[in-house]
């Protein structure tokens, strides 16, 4: 279990996050929602250890993560950044293989096992055909899938995703959402940030709602995402609609009222 208690922190003396509390059970998906500048990225950075917390506790499976060594942490937590630009012509296979780095020592190179493991991940995500393609030349959705593959290759218990579906078209969004579901079925903990309030209804088991660095609520999306809380967070009137989709499922949608 991942437990975050009274987490406070920011950059230097400037605090961004105040008193954040939540916990994540194995195999669950947690969405972190809030408007721009609410501290989503800061929270991810503190979880990943690239930013030190000011106070509070982040513990994973009973261990204080700030006491773990860099490569130990990398065997527990994997990070999936928003698609970035890559300067050099790495192949998809090489990009994904980089995820194995925490599993061997500093002057080694990937072993046969690492290579086989990487191929098996590509197969799991149905992207084996991309293995020899140049990562930098892929489309946004494909890149995002490769970054997910890299994180899965890191073989961690927890995946941290920074706005995994932002600026993707619907088809690619579905690809990413399927990959998230696949990983969560394999028993991974998943945390993702989003600025689309409808998204947690689609994939998240719980949602952490943030406003200006403070938490507004944590719980199941139906409990937390109401028109009152959303109005409070976004500062404009919001509707939460319930509709029945084509495949007879009840779907919830959050819409701003302009």
């Amino acid at each position: 279990m991942l437990e975050v208690k009274h987490l406070t922190g920011g950059y230097g003396k400037k605090l961004i996050l105040y008193d954040i509390n939540f916990s994540v059970e194995p195999g669950t998906v947690v969405g972190i929602l809030g408007p721009n500048g609410c501290g989503k990225t800061t929270l991810l950075r503190m979880l990943l250890g690239s930013l030190h917390k000011t106070s509070g506790i982040i513990s994973f499976q009973g261990k204080d993560i700030t006491k773990l060594k860099r490569n130990e942490l990398a065997r527990h937590f994997a990070y999936i950044p928003q698609r970035d630009s890559v300067t050099f012509p790495y192949t998809v296979f090489e990009m994904v293989l980089m995820g194995r780095t925490a599993h061997f020592n500093s002057i080694s190179t990937p072993s046969k096992n690492d290579i086989e493991f990487t191929y098996s991940i590509l197969e799991k995500l149905n992207i084996s055909y991309m293995a020899d393609m140049i990562y930098a030349k892929l489309s946004g959705g494909e890149r995002q899938l490769v970054l997910i593959a890299r994180a899965l290759c890191q073989d961690t218990d927890l995946l941290i995703m920074d706005e995994p579906t932002s600026s993707l078209d619907y088809k690619n969004q579905k690809l990413i959402i399927d990959a998230i579901k696949l990983a969560s079925q394999a028993g991974k903990y998943i945390l993702f940030t989003t600025h689309s309030p409808s998204e947690p209804f689609l994939i998240a088991d719980s949602v952490l709602l943030l406003k200006e660095g403070r938490m507004v609520g944590f719980g199941s999306p139906t409990d937390i995402l109401t028109s009152q809380t959303l109005e409070q967070v976004y500062g404009i009137p919001m509707d939460v609609l319930s509709i029945t989709s084509k495949n007879n499922q009840e779907v919830k949608l959050c819409l701003p009222v302009y």
Binding site: S50, S108, E116
Partner: protein, 353 residues
Amino acid sequence: MTYTVTKAVKWGNSMSKHANSSPKKSKYYLLLVALIIISVITIISSFAIGYYKIPIKDILTFILKGEKHVPSNIAIIIKRIRFPRIVAAFMIGAGLSIAGASYQGMFKNPLVSPDILGVSTGAGLGAALAIVLDYPNIMIQLMAFVFGIVVVFLAYLIGTRTKYRQEVSLILAGTMLGTLCSSFITLIKYLADPYEKLPAITYWLMGSLSRVNNKALLFSVIPMVIGIVILYLLRWRLNILTLNDEEALAIGVNPKSVRLIAIIGATLISASSVCLGGIIGWVGLMIPHITRGLVGADYRRTLPISFLIGGTFLLIMDNLARTLYAMEIPLGVLTSLFGAPFFIVLIIRGGNR
């Protein structure tokens, strides 16, 4: 390790059908072997070339049977004149190429060269000072080496003062210190005795291997080999350094410490190259480009291939430098004459590898 294996079984079921069978891999080994053969042929034939022509037969006899089986004057030329020069040319070319390849990756910029942190201009300043102060040759080398390293050290201290995007501030600090050093060099040249010291400084800065002898070689090759070994051991981590710092951290690599070690390795190489052969530009910028075009970006392949291509390239350039014209052409001038048009072609073709 057990951790890896057990978890791998959990995810993967169709194992080992891919392992070691990729055509890319066999293409790489083919290229590697071909380049090794080309390098060896170039090295051996370089002994034949020069003002005094030596028949290939004598060179092979020298290598295979020993120096007693060739005329003594030929043995002396091979041992004392050609050997140090050929080894120096190959090692400088090879070393600068892998230093350049490493820097391009860690600064995430394919236009970076090994002297981006000011090592060459620093070394140039050291040498210029030593020449003006009338120090012996060995001191000129030593001062060049030490000044090169000190400038990089200062650039590192300044560049790492910032918290984020250290790659950028390192480049800025290196460039500024380089500018500072070259203004001092200009000042020294301006004040130097125009009949003796000024030409010596100018010639030193142009880059040439004509002053290399076995003693100088021994002095420079040791730090160079240490630097090459350091970078080679880091080859996988250098891949991770091409990612942004946050991703590298999340993958389990501390980019700051790997970067520091790589800078130390690259600086040992370029400082000893400069003190051996002066400022020889373009090799460290151009060769990694060619290599990436051939084998991609993965440093497990880029480093060995850059090493071989870089070494062979500079050796051929140096052979041209000493034979093209009655008087020796400065090597640095020749490499620039090749390097600049190469980049113009690259720009026209729109390639950014």
